[in-house]
């Protein structure tokens, strides 16, 4: 039976591949909803790698996508401390990263925040007024990461955290 450490490494490798795919898709003419799906998946696997590394039973992690909003800010805070990024500037960047984490989690169709946020990057949805929306036509907040405050810093923290959790023999 695989150990928690092995599960953590496996999740980290998958997060790494998802993040690289997200980056590769950026320069291709592909709708943002498809690009963002890989960012959501990368973040989900990153937090699951972190949780497995802390000893969480891997089986319990496979039942939900809703780990990003709660756990990603902790993972990024840990990464910030690891690279000695501290003080008011780090606090501000991490506050913005926590907000972004909530938006990234909502990209998964299973996460609806009590039915208030049906927007997701995979399936069409109907809003409270009966209007039908499709991910292809929707503007997701993370699709404007390039101009969001601390957007680049957040991505660097995510990339750095994935790198740190990758097995050293890769």
């Amino acid at each position: 039976m695989a150990t928690s450490a092995e599960w953590a490494a496996a999740y980290a490798r998958q997060a790494d591949a998802d993040f690289k795919t997200f980056e590769t898709l950026q320069s291709l003419p592909i709708p943002p909803c498809h690009q963002l799906q890989f960012l959501q998946m990368a973040c989900e696997k990153l937090v699951k790698a972190h949780l497995c590394g802390e000893g969480t039973e891997p089986g319990t992690l496979q039942q939900s996508h809703a780990y990003i909003a709660k756990t990603l800010p902790k993972v990024l805070r840990q990464q910030a401390l690891y690279v000695n990024f501290r003080g008011p500037k780090a606090k501000e960047a991490l506050k913005r990263a926590a907000h972004l984490a909530k938006e990234i989690e909502l990209l998964a169709p299973a996460v609806k925040r009590g039915g208030k946020r049906l927007d997701n990057c995979e399936y069409p949805w109907e809003d409270a007024k009966g209007r039908l929306h499709t991910p292809l036509d929707w503007t997701f907040q993370p699709s404007q990461l390039v101009v969001l405050p601390a957007g680049r810093t957040t991505l660097k923290l995510i990339r750095g955290a994935i790198n740190r959790l990758l097995p050293s023999d890769i």
Partner: protein, 156 residues
């Protein structure tokens, strides 16, 4: 047929060997026909404008952003629509992470119709890039600085 790879100015063969009369750059893109010149010129000019717009937006939202430079690669590549705009940003509020190019897709709705790559570094990392202690990706050079304008300062 030549055009300036930095600003898109079309140049005669005599002008091609001298600093560009428009911007002073010596970077050149060579084209086979007048039509190709016009196309490449239009793309380079559009990328220059988009790079300035992206820099302006970044200055507006990032308090710690001190300087932004364009990063350039081969002139022929820079004349291609698919080659991302590349910016080096010096931000005193960012996390130190070495040279970590971040890829972004185009966002035409906000005036950025090209993909972009941002290398965001701390002032200390910028010093190391200048002394070559930290290396940029192969073939990339630091180009024109895109300074803060009164307009972008006002938005901060």
């Amino acid at each position: 047929m030549f055009i300036c790879a930095k600003c898109g100015q079309s140049l005669t063969s005599e002008q091609a060997t001298c600093p560009c009369p428009e911007c002073g750059s010596l970077d050149r893109a060579q084209c086979a026909t007048d039509g190709a010149v016009a196309t490449d010129q239009a793309i380079i000019k559009a990328k220059v404008a988009a790079a300035k717009e992206l820099a302006k937006k970044h200055y507006e939202v990032e308090d710690g952003l001190m300087r932004i430079f364009r990063l350039t690669s081969q002139a022929e590549l820079e004349a291609s629509r698919s080659e991302p705009i590349k910016l080096l940003e010096v931000n005193e509020n960012t996390v130190p992470s070495g040279v970590m190019p971040l890829h972004f897709g185009p966002v035409p709705a906000i005036g950025i119709p090209f993909p972009s790559i941002i290398v965001e570094v701390t002032p200390e990392e910028f010093t190391k890039i200048k002394t070559r202690e930290l290396k940029l990706p192969k073939g990339w050079e630091i180009g024109e600085e895109l300074p803060k304008t009164a307009e972008s300062r006002g938005g901060a």
